[in-house]
Amino acid sequence: MKRPSGPFLLLGLLLILPLMLRDAYYQHLMILVLMWVAIGSGWNLISGYTGQVLFGAAAFFGFGAYTAALLSSKLGVSAWWGLPLGGILSVAIAFPFGWICFRLRGPYFALATLALNEIFRHVATIWESLTDGMIGILVMQTFISKLPYYYVALAIAILSIVTVDVVMRSRWGYYFVSIREDQDAAESMGIDTLYYKMLSLCISAFLIGIAGALYTNYMGFIDPKVVFSLHEISIMAILVGIVGGVGTIYGPLVGAFIMVAVQEIFRTGGFGILHFIGQSTGWPFMSGVIKYVSEAHVLSFGILVIVVILFLPNGIVGDWSLIRKFLIKSKKPAV
C-alpha cells in the first residue's frame, strides 16, 4: 500500500519554516495558525464529525487559559503545567455539561454551549478575588525567542490533527458520523449516542483546553474579554472549521491559515502594502483607506462566512473537487 507522502512533506516544511522565516512577526503568525489548528480540530470533531454544533468553544478555551494562568498566579506553579491540566480540567467541565445538555438536540444544544460560554465569561468577570476580573492575569513568559513556542504549538497542532485522524479511522469515528447523519437511526442500531457524543465532546474540550493554556503561556496576559470572547474565539473557531472544511482532517489547517491571514491582512493594511502605496504616491486619502481597512477585519469575517456558506457549504477542503472543476473550466472553456 502506498503511504501518502503529503503530510510528511508538510510536517517537514513546518519544522524548518521558523528557521527560515527569522522575522518574529511571521513566527508569531505561524504560532497563531498552529493554535487555531488545535482549536479548529477540536471544534471539527464535535461539530463537523459528530454534528453537535459547538457555539461556545471559548468556554473550554478560556477555561484552559485560566487554569494555566491561575496555576502560576495563585499556586506559583509553572504555567506550562497548564497544558496538560488545562486540557484535563476542560474535560472535567465538558463531562457534566455534556451529560446534562446532550439531551438537547441540534440548535438547542448549540444555544446551551453559547450560554455556557457566556456564563463563564460573567463568572470570570465577577469573581474578582480569584480571577482579578477585568484586570486580567499577567503571566511571565518563559522564553524571549518565539522558537520554543513555535515548536510547542506545532506539537499541539500535530497532536490534535493526529488525534482526530486516529479517532476518525477507528470504530468511534464511524459512530460519530452515524450520529451526525441520523441520531435516531444510530440509536436504533444499538449505538449509545449519549456516550459517544460525550466522548466526542470530551476529546474536543481537551484539545481546545490545551490550546487555551498555550495561549496563556505564549501571550502572557489574559482577561475574560479576550479568552471568553464570543467573536474572537467561539465564532472564529466556527469560521476556521467551516472555511477549511467541515468534517475533514486537514480542513482546520487550511481554515486556520486562511482566517489568520485574512485577519492580519486587514489589521496591517495588506501587510503594509497600502501604507507603502500611500507613502510613495503621496495620495492624501490613503491614510483614511488604511484606517478603514484596518477596522474592517471583522466585516471581512462576516462577508467570508456568508460567501463560504452560500457557495462552498462544505468548506475549501470539503468542496475541493468543486473548486478544481471551476478552476479547470475557467482555464479551458472549450472542454
Binding site: 446551551a112 453559547l114 457566556e118 456564563i119 474592517a296 462576516g302 456558506i309 457549504p313
Partner: protein
C-alpha cells in the same frame, strides 16, 4: 415592600419590551425552524435609524417607528430572500448552516454600523427620557411606560394578524407543518420571507422604543440577541404566547436579580434561568399554554 413593588413594576415594564423582542424571534423560529442570531443586530440597526432621524431631522423617537419598522421589514425580507432561502437548496454536512449564516449577517451589520457611526456611545435625550410619574409611592418611568403601552398594542395587533387574517393563518400553518402547508397550496418560501420581515419589524419597534432610555453603540446587538434567545427558549421555541411569558419572566428575573443579588449579576441571572429551563422544562412555558 416598597422596594419589592418597585422592582416588580420595573421588571414588568422591561418584560413588555423583552416580549416584543422575543415575539419576532419566536415567529422566525416557528416558521423557519432556525434561531436567528442576528436578531439583536436588527434591533441595533433600527436604533441607529431612529438615532439618525432624531439627530438630523429632529423627529421624536416614537414618530420614527413608522420609518424604522418598515425599513427593518424590508431588510428582513431581503436577507431571507437572497441569503437564507437559497441555503435550503444547498447540500451541506451541517444542518445548522442557516444559523451560521445569521451569525455572519450579524457581524456584517455590526461592522457596517461601526463604519458609519463609529464605536462611540450615542444616546437620544428627550424631555421625557428621565422623567417619571408616581402612583402610590412607586415611580413609573414615562418612557418605559409608553414603550410598554406600544409593546402591548403591537403584541395585540400581531395576535389579531396571526389569528384573523389569511396571511397570518398561512404563517401559523407553515410553522405547524410546512410540508402539509405546501400541499394546501401555501408558498412556504414566500411565507418565510414575510415572517422574517415581520420578526425584524417587531424587534425594530422594540429597539426604537428602548432608545430614549438606553444608549447605543454598534455591539449592542450581541447582548440582545442572547436575551432574545433566552426569552424564546423560556417560552418554548415557536410559541407566541410563550414568548410573552418568557419576556416577562426574563424582565422580572433581571430586575429582581439586580435588586436583591447585585447589579453585576443582572445578565448572569438570565443565563442561569435559561439553562435551568432547558434542563427541567424543555419546551419552555409552552407546556402550560397549549398555544
Amino acid at each position: 415592600m416598597e422596594v419589592f413593588l418597585q422592582t416588580l413594576v420595573a421588571g414588568v415594564l422591561k418584560g413588555g419590551l423583552y416580549a416584543l423582542i422575543g415575539l419576532g424571534m419566536t415567529l422566525i423560529m416557528g416558521v423557519m425552524g432556525i434561531i436567528n442570531l442576528a436578531h439583536g443586530q436588527f434591533m441595533m440597526v433600527a436604533m441607529y435609524i431612529t438615532y439618525a432621524l432624531f439627530h438630523f431631522f429632529g423627529l421624536d423617537p416614537y414618530t420614527t417607528l413608522i420609518i424604522s419598522m418598515p425599513s427593518l421589514f424590508i431588510l428582513g425580507v431581503l436577507i431571507q430572500k437572497y441569503l437564507l432561502n437559497p441555503l435550503m437548496k444547498v447540500e451541506s454536512i451541517l444542518p445548522e448552516n442557516q444559523v451560521l449564516m445569521t451569525v455572519g449577517i450579524a457581524m456584517v451589520l455590526t461592522e457596517i454600523a461601526r463604519f458609519i457611526f463609529s464605536s462611540n456611545y450615542l444616546s437620544v435625550r428627550t424631555s421625557y427620557s428621565s422623567s417619571a410619574f408616581y402612583l402610590g409611592g412607586i415611580s413609573f418611568s414615562v418612557a418605559l411606560t409608553v414603550a410598554f403601552g406600544f409593546a402591548c398594542f403591537l403584541t395585540l395587533s400581531l395576535f389579531w394578524f396571526l389569528i384573523k387574517t389569511d396571511l397570518g393563518r398561512s404563517i401559523r400553518a407553515v410553522s405547524q407543518d410546512s410540508e402539509a402547508a405546501e400541499l394546501m397550496g401555501i408558498d412556504s418560501g414566500r411565507i418565510k420571507v414575510i415572517t422574517m420581515g415581520i420578526g425584524a419589524g417587531l424587534v425594530a419597534a422594540a429597539g426604537t422604543l428602548l432608545l430614549p432610555i438606553y444608549y447605543l453603540f454598534p455591539d449592542i446587538g450581541g447582548p440582545f440577541t442572547r436575551k432574545a434567545f433566552i426569552i424564546t427558549i423560556l417560552g418554548g421555541l415557536g410559541s407566541t404566547v410563550g414568548a410573552i411569558f418568557g419576556g416577562l419572566t426574563l424582565g422580572l428575573a433581571e430586575s429582581f436579580g439586580a435588586t436583591y443579588i447585585g447589579m453585576d449579576f443582572e445578565d448572569l441571572v438570565g443565563l442561569v434561568i435559561f439553562l435551568l429551563v432547558l434542563l427541567f422544562i424543555p419546551g419552555g412555558f409552552r407546556r402550560f399554554t397549549k398555544v
